[in-house]
Subunit: 540 residues, 2 copies
């Protein structure tokens, strides 16, 4: 029997109008690419989004059209996040850290009609121009006075577009399964693949993140998303913050430790979300300054596994860490590392162990671990296998990519994450490795994540990665590539440290010290690049 409730669609624009009416005085503080601080309330943002909607229509953008963004975190990027889907078009966030080849591929594959870009990215697009469609139009996120000289054709000025419209506009109704957002994965395997979010999935994700992350998301709170708006739907921050009345402090391009420290201190930031590499930089700055930015209470770490030492670094400062896990294909939140009230009173070592896992599932996200034959494994914290997920905020296919779509789901329609994991009886997900990063030595599996996590705890290791190199006898053997934290590091000391704590056969055959590690477009250490660099490295 069907119930009798109104058939009202969930729309991204509903978040916008709600934030305008209910949280109109909260808003966005942006550290701009021009170098100043810009303040815009959610009420002002909503009015500008209505102008943007009219400008898009004037440009001929209609339902289903893909509109790309190439921008840092800032108020204009937020306006695009709402204005584009508001009229039924698709907001396609491009990741500027992708290679030129990847970017050209993605723009063409998505069939973008317009690219909205920050001043910073004009030179990048100029270089790409010959590989991009001639009909592509460009809107530069600047006012008339800041418009650059450029070799690009079909160029518009964002502020002039908005000034040429008024804000008398009503957001149209459409089915909640209408596409709203498009985000390509960083493509560490094969070509980048697109996740095509719906209005329903984005609104549900915002609500789920909102009820789960009440420290970061709350009326009057101030959240700094270091995670870019172009990275995996900004972990939901762009939608959940206006919904809950949380102000967003946007760092623009300044993602180094000193810039973040200053912005957090000046703007009284309560919570900040970002990837491990960013937090290593902030911790270093905190070490130099001798204190954390005043008022910083919560750090959410995701995008890559957080080492226990990183988590401990923040918790020792009185900053609560939420270690989260997700994927672009999951909108992206999958699990959250919050402890139950009982667990928060456990001894520090036990708390840290729980926080070093990926945490527990978000509402409506189902997890299952299966073995090589597809048999479901028990949640006993021991049995490992491939992790599959399901839920209304998980992709059902990749955008225009039948081959990748066919490979990504099991017979029951669950999405294959490519992670090897176990789940404990109380629901904590422990990702042991990306399946392709596991090292098979003499028939036994070695988790590169486990070895990295241990190495990170050594005081002379600032950052590191463990990769497999081919070995004539064992098949593969692990090698540690490490960035030292001191001037004269001692590889032998690090080796001895690992030998004390690991089974002998898991200790890396070699320790290579480097100045920095190559990163992927989403700020994760690129093991693909490392394997290429060290392909011919001779093991001792």
């Amino acid at each position: 029997m069907r119930g009798m409730m109104m058939d009202r669609p969930l729309r991204v624009a509903d978040i916008l109008t709600y934030s305008e009416e209910i949280h109109g005085t909260a808003g966005i503080v942006s550290s701009t690419v021009e170098g100043d601080i810009h303040r815009e309330s959610y009420a002002e943002m909503a009015a500008r989004c209505r102008r943007l909607a009219k400008a898009l229509r004037t440009m001929g953008i209609g339902p289903g059209d893909r509109v790309a963004t190439l921008a840092w975190n800032g108020y204009r990027h937020m306006e695009l996040y709402f204005g584009i889907p508001g009229i039924g078009a698709v907001c396609h966030t491009l990741n500027p850290r992708m290679s030129p080849e990847q970017l050209a591929y993605i723009v063409s594959h998505a069939d973008d009609r317009v690219v909205f870009l920050d001043l910073t990215f004009v030179p990048l697009v100029e270089k790409l121009r010959s590989r991009l469609p001639d009909r592509l139009r460009y809107v530069i996120l600047a006012d008339a006075a800041s418009m650059p000289r450029t070799s690009l054709a079909n160029v518009h000025c964002y502020e002039e577009l908005l000034a040429s419209e008024d804000d008398d506009f009503g957001w149209p109704d459409f089915d909640e399964d209408t596409a709203a957002g498009l985000c390509y994965t960083s493509g560490t395997t094969g070509v980048p693949k697109g996740a095509l979010y719906t209005h329903r999935s984005l609104v549900l994700h915002s609500l789920i993140v909102g009820v789960s992350m009440q420290n970061s998301l709350r009326a009057g709170r101030r959240l700094l998303p270091v995670v870019p708006l172009f990275h995996a739907n900004a972990w939901g921050a762009a939608h959940a913050a206006p919904l809950t009345g949380t102000s967003l402090i946007m760092p623009g391009p300044g993602l180094d430790g000193p810039s973040l420290w200053n912005l957090m201190e000046t703007e009284k930031v309560f919570a900040a979300w970002g990837v491990p590499t960013v937090w290593l930089g902030l911790l270093e700055e905190i070490g130099k300054r001798g204190r954390k930015p005043a008022g910083l209470e919560e750090v959410v770490i995701g995008g890559a596994a957080a080492a226990t030492s990183l988590i401990k670094g923040f918790e020792d400062l009185g900053v609560s860490v939420c270690h989260a896990w997700g994927m672009t294909e999951m909108s992206p939140i999958g699990t959250l590392g919050f402890l139950s009230p009982e667990q928060t009173s456990l001894p520090a070592r036990e708390r840290l162990r729980l926080k070093s896992t990926q945490g527990r599932r978000a509402f409506m996200i189902d997890l299952k671990v299966v073995d090589g034959e597809g048999r479901r494994q028990p949640n006993d914290g021991e049995a490992t296998g491939e992790l599959f997920v399901r839920g209304p905020t998980v992709v059902s296919a990749y955008f225009n990519n039948e081959e990748a779509s066919a490979a990504a789901f099991d017979g029951e329609g669950w999405f294959s994450t490519g992670d090897v994991a176990s789940i404990s009886s109380d629901g904590f997900l422990n990702i042991r490795d990306r399946s392709k990063d596991l090292i098979k030595s003499g028939g036994e599996w070695i988790s590169s994540l486990d070895v990295e996590n241990l190495a990170m705890a050594h005081p002379h290791v600032a950052n590191c990665a463990v990769i497999a190199l081919p070995h004539p006898k064992w098949g593969e053997r692990p090698v540690l590539v490490a960035v030292p934290s001191v001037d004269r590091p001692e590889p032998d000391g690090i080796r001895a440290y690992l030998e004390e704590r690991l089974p002998k056969w898991q200790v890396p055959d070699d320790i290579i010290l480097v100045e920095e590690l190559p990163l992927t477009a989403t700020g994760k250490v690129s093991k693909l690049t490392l394997r290429q660099i060290y392909a011919d490295h001779k093991l001792p």
Copy 2:
């Protein structure tokens, strides 16, 4: 263009499994009808719900069947809230405060198959028996030892039903628009009408309440819903508490001031939700004890307009008041009286004025005020008219009642609330009156609510209601019916007080002192009954 996200339904059972896995140690503390305190974790509840699901199926209950409850707030009632819809049946909460005629009508109109009832209500149902269908079965919410002698036929024992099943059960999938809950309005006008909630509307409502009411709903918090599970979907508490990991402290039948004070004190209750009459009782008890129950920080007042003096009474004790408004037809939350961070630093008098309104809309709820010709009125705080609402948590029709359904919606599909209201420019809803409670004197409207609110501020008035009586010259004139708070009240003093503060023509023609006011089945003052009692009252 359609997005590409999994088509997973929102189901009430998803809340149950989530609370089991993620908030399994939180749960329900019940002050039982047997008189003891019972504790059940959400993990235990989920396992018992699975037994209940199997027991329902064994009884032949299937998708779409209506299963009624007649019970106080307690753990078994919570199990019914989840176990019944979990299998696709409809949980129909009966309000024991309805008249026998109304109850018999509702059970028959809903075509209930089974009634689950508390021990307390066995005599009530025995009396009703001849008016209920012969085939109706009864399950008494008790263990075998507590089963009463009864003249009812087809009687089962709840604990025996559960004991005869195991908890190996998986919740079935079905469309999210499947009916999940049924709740009849108290029927102050005409016959009671049924709101038929869907799985979608209940899950969305839980998420919306969860992100909006973060003080009451938060992992580790303890919430006492005085609002009954049979009253308007318990304002969302029954679903949002397990979802967020909030423990529920269930008062059973003990809703008087002393019982509530003791339970709050003993169980360290942080927040409590209920109707104004309940809070008058608690304030009186607090006055006697000289302090609030330790730890009580938030009171949510809904179900009827809260007088400013009631709000002030709690705020003066350091208990934050959220004055909320909703309707059974709205799942029920429509507006919430939270102030913005800026407004919380306003002077006390201004804060109190804002909190005396019904607050601002919940996410996804749209409000409009229209005049007699259906023209939309501006949100200027001045223009009044009939309030209409729209949203995915609002009914689209009444259950099996075409006539009532036809009358309840306007041409655009908005639901007619029957309230006369204005909305301020910053979104605060001010309900001036139920349209049928407005008093038309000499061609001018008098808001009974405004006069009541003022009278409640007089120290000698404990509770009151203003009704219209027919008048040969003016058409109608207001009369104040008041419960005094002191032994020797002074009607003339109250009159002088009102004369000082009201336009002369709004001052009631008479002040009638009574020992208590008649209440409706949902605990509101019954103006219908008052009008009947005083139909022949002679105005001075």
